[in-house]
Symmetry: C2
Subunit: 137 residues, 2 copies
Amino acid sequence: MNHTTRTLNRSKQRDAIFNYIITHKTHPTADDIYNDIRKDFPNISLGTVYRNLTLLTELGSIKKLSYGDAAEHFDGDITPHNHFICNTCGSITDLQMENIDFVDEAASRNFDGKIAGHNIYFYGTCPSCLQNIHPEH
Amino acid sequence: MNHTTRTLNRSKQRDAIFNYIITHKTHPTADDIYNDIRKDFPNISLGTVYRNLTLLTELGSIKKLSYGDAAEHFDGDITPHNHFICNTCGSITDLQMENIDFVDEAASRNFDGKIAGHNIYFYGTCPSCLQNIHPEH
DNA sequence: GTGGGTGCAAACCGTTTGCACACCA
DNA sequence: TGGTGTGCAAACGGTTTGCACCCAC
């Protein structure tokens, strides 16, 4: 892979990986994807999963989430949204919020550089863990 | 370290690590700290650095930053603030913004769980990299 | 003397990569 | 047939951990 144009062939493995990510809302890790997809592709290798995740991320087809967990998570929803991470169970929830461009504006008032975007990771206790702590509803 | 109370002794190494972090605004990694602090403690080990960084983080004396870089970064400023990461040079800048509690409020309007806080990572091009791209000022 | 802290080295774990082979245009 | 993709395994880099020793209380 160099600077010149480069043809991109399709592959069943890449299609399956991409399809897995966009049809699961679980923000899976490479290992999650590998273990699930192995049911359909028994010989697929973890290296192939990683190579395709990197490629799909570079193409902008998926997004990578890094928030402190040891492993990277991947998101098939590339529309602007934010994420909530439960401190108790570790689940990741999409947060569809109203437009919050004012966050970038607020930041730019104190910063001379060029702000291209942001990632917000909210954390706390998710609804089902709250329920377990206080079962009386 | 179990659930019962546990006495915490002081150590020169831990003091030095903590002092390094609060006197440097560079958001250093464990390795950064290790390499610098070795000038004063030639025999200190990386394991000790990691153990104390984990301990100080658990005590709430410092904060850990995870945003996608391979390594964790540490911040001696535990007051609420956000961070800007330059896509070009990788530098990390503190963003002291006006009160942005409205971000949590906006999130909570779409979420039934308990939001305890957030981390915002802004990204883009920092002032000095902008200057290098467009040297005419 | 007891238990917390350290240095050292090995292990660990997520990720990347070199290589030979397979496959598609 | 040339170049792209894959499977496999080794390597890599950041982090954790087991262990013997040391030191503060």
